[in-house]
């Protein structure tokens, strides 16, 4: 019995390490992606872009990460990647400050650090690849509302995430500024409501918008949960033809509504290109083509030319607009 007990435990241990492949010689270009969380469809799409770039450059790609999106859980991964001496870590910060000491240690060890999706604290990265600048998103949302409202005139309302959501609030502020421009004078922002990124709450808020603003022309929902919930409400209440809907969402969650005409256009940054660009930036940092200093320029195949901006930030580009014509080209 004693022996079988020992064997059982030893087996578990061996099983654990036995699954692992042996370490192989590392190629010069070795980039690791560390998303906030693994098994998250959003990051898996970004990883696809990273893999595509790795294929083009003949580099190595791997994605590691915790199962829960916390800074504390990301730290051991950063430390292990540092010990493994990868060329670069491409990281989306679950907690910008909590992972900063570990990232700074990685940089001291000569590893390049590229932020994507969510920025680590300043000083903890070489370059941050921003998916979209706040101005671009806010202005894009107003332009889409203008496209949808007949003659670019009438009442519009915003269905947002939570009232404290940093990104959404910044976009809504830009929307308000943009609406003051003369070409949008016909649009009248009558309400901003919060669905808390909860499906049910968002649906209730969308319904309330329809009831309290009978002349509503367009609902703008700059959050993936909100826009899908609003689409369902428009369809269920039969308002789909009279009230238009636009905002930010993922093609997969909105495909059906685009096909049946509930939504004519919506936008989101191209997530796959985000991973693709981040890998290229990492490769250029490793090769020394760029240092990460503001003002440096570089170009990336299929995406074009980029300039590193203030705080070493690179902006991916204008958001991708999805319509019935192009939505089937995207799978995320």
């Amino acid at each position: 019995m004693r022996r079988s007990l020992s064997i059982a435990l030893a087996l578990v241990a061996v099983l654990g390490v036995g699954l692992a492949p042996s370490a192989s010689a590392q190629p010069a270009l070795n980039v690791a992606f560390l998303p906030k969380q693994v098994n998250n469809p959003y990051f898996d799409v970004a990883a696809k872009g990273g893999m595509r770039a790795a294929g083009e450059l003949g580099g190595q790609f791997k994605q590691v990460g915790p199962s829960e999106a916390t800074g504390a859980a990301q730290v051991p991964f950063i430390q292990d990647l540092t010990t493994q001496n990868v060329g670069a870590i491409v990281v989306s910060a679950a907690d910008p400050d909590a992972i900063a000491p570990a990232l700074k240690a990685a940089r001291q060890a000569g590893i390049k650090v590229v932020g994507y999706d969510s920025s680590p604290a300043e000083g903890a990265y070489d370059v941050f690849v921003n998916q979209a600048d706040t101005q671009g998103i806010g202005q894009g949302l107003v332009q889409m509302a203008c496209d949808e409202a007949p003659n670019c005139a009438g009442d519009i309302a915003v269905l947002s995430a939570t009232s404290t959501a940093t990104n959404q609030n910044a976009w809504i502020d830009v929307m308000k500024q943009t609406l003051m421009q003369p070409q949008y004078a016909g649009l009248n922002l009558v309400d901003v409501v919060y669905g808390n990124d909860d499906d049910q709450t968002s649906q209730q808020q969308a319904q309330a918008l329809l009831q309290s603003h009978p002349n509503l022309q367009v609902i703008v929902s700059p959050t993936t949960v909100g826009i899908a919930a609003a689409a369902k409400v428009l369809e269920d209440t039969g308002s789909a033809g009279t009230v238009q809907l636009t905002g930010l969402g993922t093609p997969n969650s909105l495909r059906a509504y685009v096909k049946d005409g509930t939504i004519k256009e919506f936008a989101l940054w191209n997530v796959e290109n985000l991973g693709y660009l981040a890998y290229y930036v990492a490769a250029k940092l490793i090769s020394g083509d760029i240092k990460g200093n503001p003002g440096e320029t570089f170009s990336v195949p299929t995406l074009g030319d980029y300039t590193i901006g203030e705080n070493s930030v690179v902006v991916l580009g204008p958001p991708q607009v999805f319509t019935a014509d192009n939505i089937d080209q995207f799978n995320f």
């Binding site: 019995m1 699954l19 800074g71 504390a72 400050d97 570990a102």
Partner: protein, 341 residues
Amino acid sequence: MTTPVEVDQSPRTAEASMTRPSRASAVSRLLRWESLLVLVLVVLIVGGARVSPVFATAQNFSNLTVATMEVGIMAMPMTLIIIAGEIDLSVESMLGLASAVLGFLWAAGVSLWIAIPVVLLMGAAGGLLNGLLVTRAGLPSLVVTLGTLALFRGLASVVLGPRAISNFPGEFTAFGFGNVPGTPVPWPLVVFVVLALALGTVLHLTWPGREVFAIGKNASAARYSGVRVARLKTCLFVLSGAVAAGAGIILTSRLSSARADAGQGLTLAVVTAVLLGGVDIFGGSGTLPGVVLAVFTLAILQNALRLADVSTQLQSIAVGLLLIVSVVVPHVVIRIRGGSR
């Protein structure tokens, strides 16, 4: 090694009823559990060195140690509590509350020399609440600490809200992230070793330690033989609360970030380490050195799997299997032995 059965050598006759027929086998079982863990550790270290050339480096051991110290530190009082037949599920929330209050006080301009003792006292007070509800109100600790698990986390969110405080002074964050000068030994490891030595001594070499085992084996028998069960249990919960708050301070220092959601999910990691260490979930048996070994076994297993680029899902499967085996096997062994007699 001093073992629980020594309780029976006391002149108190009531305790004779607590003795189990297989005293000697219980001793050997515990000893064997620890030697098994040593074996697993050796296998892991050899395997780790095989899968990754950077595994067996001082820097890597320093990293893997520091990442597990909050769990290890909280596992020390948890060992005593589970041996005494209770459990404290609230430790992760107390850790979060400590982080939140520390961040709040620092942001409000309070010196860390004042804030840290205040946070530790608050941890002790939270533990006292647990202890009194268990011993005075007579509620099961599972229920009480499930309640305070939610309560402390709620308080943490009220104190700090969704913001993170991160502008701590460099000397403070160097404590959590740095090493003892000139060595690869991280500071939190020093705290862990001191705590393990202190509690190991109390548990295995002193009379109160034997009383902890006695309570876990049979609380009423212990009470009738003069053990102040309620007071001892309350002390254990107070200790657990204070130590969890200390772990919160260490985590805040290591991440240089105070957040209300710090440490979410750590209770399970703590209980996993204690059970893997050979402590009986029903109380009455277990050793502190076993738990220390288990803490390192888990840390090394996860580190080796990460270095070998094993996916996160497979990592949790490996840890889950290890825990199931550690809990199930001893009971199966006892049952088989009991049947064969």
